[in-house]
């Protein structure tokens, strides 16, 4: 039976896991690390770099290195989040053809699903090494508060990477699965998930292997990156005060600041203070070199970010209220995400929930583990684990006057469906336009638009007399479909809401092809490089052997071969630049033969 891998596609790091012999386990990458940085870069020569490699060269290639792209995925060009990223990111963010966002790396504009697909592909490769076969199906996690457009964009990323994302589940839910798997729990738990880019809180009821999500909420723009940004701001501000230079305008300096900030933040989780030392961070026009040298204490850091911490607690409060529970009803609080290592955050959570948070799950690995648990549960159809997931946002349509009428409330268990009856607004109105929206604002405009369609052919009648039923349905896969029906004639019109990832189907198909081409090319390049290595090795061996034979005074033995050796070495050197596989292979064979002849001749001595 085909297995399903679980992938935590994180803002800063990604992780892949599989259930092996009934136990979920994280698959380490080639470097032996259990997580891989979600960083993608394009080198000057046009090569793609992913993960640790990409992260390492970020300083020298800042403009063409993408990190935290998850913050942009599925977002519209004119959203405030995108504005914010344009201001703070060193890579170039440009407008795409469908109000979407693209990132310009070297000469090419990449869509966000493409960038994510590169990370997914890397995770797929990590799993492939381990499994010994190509995994084609995956459960991928997203922040609970991702809307449909963001989820669709993530699905598209999977398609481009050649992965069938059989299910998208919410990160905190996945963490709960990892926490409760095989434990026979009977508890109400809160999952506090503060990752690199997003914050989520989910409350689950766990009993007899059923994981029932009671409510979930979050902020898709609140995470470790924001904590880093506060440190960067602080350092840049101090530096500017002293030297009158804004380091944030210097791309290289900014990248170094970014690394230093992340490092300092991590160190402050275990130490009361940390040294930040960035020598030669900037040189003045007159050539004077400037250094950044300072100490950051934990207290100072906490002061810088205390409002961020408080924001997460506010969201916890709201969620608890929404689910109709009291703090005392929560049996366990589970911390997930790298940021929860910060002592101030642990303290804030403890203060709010009135109990020490559980440390039973690994904050970086739990999400991927949970995704693999869900993958196994789906494919086995066993009754050990059942996830009752919810839709995180309210779904509805725009009504007269720009209002938003909710049909499916946030936190409804999926699959679900619901219908309402609406009436016409104008006399003799013969058609209605159904605009499908997602969000919590009573104003339609402030919510995310998922799609629209028209139901026409209504009977001409005074306003309010013709009634139309609009029914929403969300499948277990999270796919939304909407149906409108004229209650008089029974005439129907329906759509499956294909939330816009910002890409058209044609574009996705092109990207899938392009990606396959890239992989083929990559494979060919690797093959060429292998043959070149062979040629180089043969040439070296040939030269050494010739030299030794001559120095031994047996040069005459090779006399008859001399011309052939010179010619083939010359040919081999020229062939090394070639990209022609056939030519390289012939050359490799040729030089190998010459080498054999020389060996034989030398042996004759």
């Amino acid at each position: 039976m085909e297995r399903i891998i679980g992938i935590d596609l994180g803002t800063t790091n990604s992780c892949v896991a599989i259930v092996e012999g009934g136990t979920p386990q994280v698959i380490p990458n080639k470097g032996g690390y259990k997580t891989t940085p979600s960083v993608v870069a394009i080198t000057e020569s046009g090569r793609r770099l992913v993960g640790q490699m990409a992260k390492r060269q970020a300083i020298t290639n800042a403009r063409h290195t993408v990190y935290a792209s998850k913050r942009l995925i599925g977002r519209k060009w004119n959203s405030s989040e995108v504005r914010h990223c344009i201001e703070t990111c060193p890579y170039e963010i440009v407008q795409g053809p469908h109000e979407d966002v693209r990132i310009k790396l070297r000469d090419k504009e990449y869509s966000l699903p493409e960038i994510s697909s590169i990370v997914l592909q890397e995770m797929k490769l990590v799993a492939q090494e381990f499994l010994g076969e190509e995994p084609t199906k995956a459960v991928v996690t997203v922040p609970a508060y991702f809307n449909d457009n963001q989820r669709t964009a993530t699905r598209d990323a999977g398609r481009i990477a050649g992965l069938d994302i059989v299910r998208i589940i919410n990160e905190p839910t996945a963490a709960a699965l990892a926490y409760g798997f095989g434990k026979n729990l009977d508890a109400t738990v809160a999952i506090y998930d503060l990752g690199g880019g997003t914050f989520d809180i989910s409350i689950l009821d766990i009993h007899e292997g059923v994981f029932d999500v009671l409510s979930t909420a979050g902020d898709t723009f609140l995470g470790g990156e924001d904590f880093d940004a506060r440190i960067i701001e602080h350092l840049a501000f101090e530096f500017a005060r002293e030297h009158k230079v804004d380091l944030r305008k210097d791309e290289m300096a900014l990248q170094r600041l970014r690394d230093a900030a992340e490092k300092a933040k991590i160190e402050l989780s275990s130490m009361p203070e940390t040294e930040i030392s960035l020598p030669f961070i900037h040189s003045r026009d007159d050539g004077e070199a400037l250094h950044l040298q300072t100490t950051l204490t934990r207290d100072a850091f906490e002061e810088l970010v205390i409002d961020l911490v408080q924001r997460t607690i506010k969201i916890c409060q709201a969620t608890l209220q929404e689910s109709g529970l009291e703090v005392d009803d929560i049996d366990d609080v589970i911390l997930v995400g790298g940021m929860t290592r910060m002592p101030r955050i642990q303290a804030a959570v403890r203060d709010y929930f009135g109990k020490a948070p559980s440390k039973q799950v690994h904050p970086d690995e739990a999400v991927a583990l949970g995704a693999s648990v869900q993958g196994a549960a789906l494919i086995e159809g066993s009754s050990d684990v059942l996830l009752l997931d919810v839709t995180p946002h309210s779904l509805g349509i725009m009504v007269h006057g720009g209002g938003f009428e909710v049909l499916i409330e946030a936190n409804a268990t999926i699959p679900t469906s619901h219908g309402h009856i609406f009436t016409t607004v104008r006399d003799n109105q013969t058609s209605v336009k159904i605009i499908v929206l997602q969000g919590e604002s009573p104003n339609a405009e402030e919510n995310e638009m998922l799609g629209e369609f028209v139901l026409s052919g209504l009977r001409r009648a005074p306003a309010g007399e013709v009634e139309v039923e609009v029914a929403f349905e969300i499948s277990a896969d999270g796919i939304v479909s909407v149906q409108a029906r004229d209650l008089e004639t029974g005439k129907e019109q329906s759509i499956t809401v294909t939330a816009t990832s910002g890409l058209t189907e044609e574009e996705i198909q092109n990207m899938i092809e392009e990606n396959q081409d890239y992989l083929v090319e990559l494979k060919r390049d690797e093959e060429l490089e292998r043959v070149r290595g062979q040629i180089r090795k043969s040439v070296r061996e040939l030269e050494k052997l010739t030299e030794r034979t001559i120095s031994n005074g047996d040069g005459h033995l090779l006399e008859h071969l001399r011309e052939r050796v010179t010619r083939s070495v010359e040919q081999a050197r020229q062939a090394l630049d070639s990209k022609d596989t056939a030519r390289l292979n012939t050359t490799a064979d040729e030089i190998q033969q010459v080498l054999q002849s020389v060996k034989a001749a030398a042996m004759g001595a």
């Binding site: 009754s383 059942l386 679900t416």
Partner: protein, 369 residues
């Protein structure tokens, strides 16, 4: 005469303490029990037992009645009072919890499994589900509207949150679509999903104090004797407001009932057009055969609005293809509309379903003459 379906494959229940049985087994019964392997059908057992069919059937029946074997799909004959409590709890532990649940679920509905008219075609659909479960899904789905939320979940009216949760969770494990991930489900997929959605709604309503109180009130109203005056003017929609949601939290069923009452009220005032409008809306909410038929009959008797009558009769026929009444009324309506060929067509089909119906025969006789 034996009531046992010979195509069923009996299964032996494990963990039964034979010593505690009130009436000890005969060696023959023991022998038959030893042949039961869960895959052989009753008919097959008869042919392999060497005891002959009648004697084997007797043995199987007695084993079944003493609770030593079960016949999947056939409801248990009696509580297993003969086995000691220790034995029965052991058997519970060993038994597949799904089986037990299945039996508990199947007894929640007004129509019993044995009396339920299964749609053969549906049961024969080739899907990746076992036959017992197919029957269960068809059976439960068809009767979703026949039980209230308490009945559906199998809980008492005063049950607490934990009891509710336990009932809902175990049913979820049975009907959540994820259990059938990427399986070929044909017409069963939609049914399973609807069952899950209904139990979810039931759980969410009953586990929320406010919603539960509202629901209880609705139930109370529903139990009022028919004919209780219902304000026909109760507006389903606030007509004064432009585009407004109408049925908000009300159950579809309640909306249906209200529409029917509104229609009836219009009929009383002889406003047939308005009444028909309400009935049509009601039918799009719920494909109710009885309503469609009643309206068609009503119109036929009044002798007016024959086209509408035909439409309603057609709807009734469409909802229940095997409805003789719908076909008969259609035939009669076509007679009234003086289109004999249509009339004959429908009456002949009605006759196929009920070959000795005097009325239909008379009509046809007249038409052919």
């Amino acid at each position: 005469m034996s009531s046992i379906d010979e195509t069923l494959a009996p299964r032996a229940l494990s963990g039964v303490d034979f010593k505690s049985l009130k009436s000890p087994l005969t060696p023959e019964e023991f022998f038959v029990l030893s042949r039961v392997d869960g895959s052989m059908t009753v008919a097959q057992l008869c042919s392999v037992s060497g005891l002959g069919r009648p004697r084997t059937m007797e043995c199987i029946e007695s084993l079944w009645k003493s609770g030593l074997i079960e016949l999947p799909g056939q409801t248990s004959p009696a509580p297993l009072a003969d086995t000691s409590s220790a034995a029965s709890s052991a058997s519970e532990a060993d038994q597949d919890p799904g089986e037990e649940l299945s039996e508990a679920i199947l007894t929640r509905f007004p129509v019993a499994m044995d009396d339920f008219a299964f749609d053969r075609e549906l049961l024969e659909q080739s899907v990746e589900l076992d036959d017992d479960f197919k029957r269960e899904v068809v059976f439960v789905y068809a009767q979703l509207d026949e039980v209230d939320y308490y009945g559906l979940l199998g809980v008492s009216a005063d049950c607490g949150r934990r009891e509710l949760r336990s009932a809902y969770f175990s049913m979820s494990k049975r009907y959540h679509p994820d259990r059938f991930f990427r399986k070929v489900l044909g017409d069963y997929g939609m049914r399973i999903e609807k069952i899950f959605q209904r139990i979810t709604r039931a759980y969410q309503t009953l586990s929320n104090r406010k919603k539960r109180a509202e629901y209880d009130e609705l139930l109370e109203q529903g139990r009022q004797p028919a004919g209780t005056p219902v304000q026909a003017s109760t507006p389903l929609s606030q007509r004064s407001e432009p585009i407004e949601e109408v049925s908000s939290d009300r159950k579809r069923e309640m909306a249906f009932q209200l529409l029917v009452r509104r229609g009836d009220a219009h009929l009383e005032r002889d406003d047939v057009a308005a009444a028909l409008r309400e009935f049509r809306k009601a039918l799009t909410l719920k494909r109710d055969h009885a309503l469609a038929l009643r309206v068609a009959k009503n119109l036929k008797e009044s002798g007016e609005h024959l086209d509408d009558a035909v439409a309603f009769a057609r709807a009734a026929h469409k909802i229940e293809a095997s409805s003789v009444d719908a076909l008969r009324i259609l035939g009669e309506l076509y007679i009234m509309k003086q289109s004999p060929s249509d009339a004959i067509y429908h009456l002949e089909r009605a006759l196929e379903l009920r070959p000795d119906d005097a009325d239909i025969l008379a009509h046809l006789h007249q038409l052919r003459a």
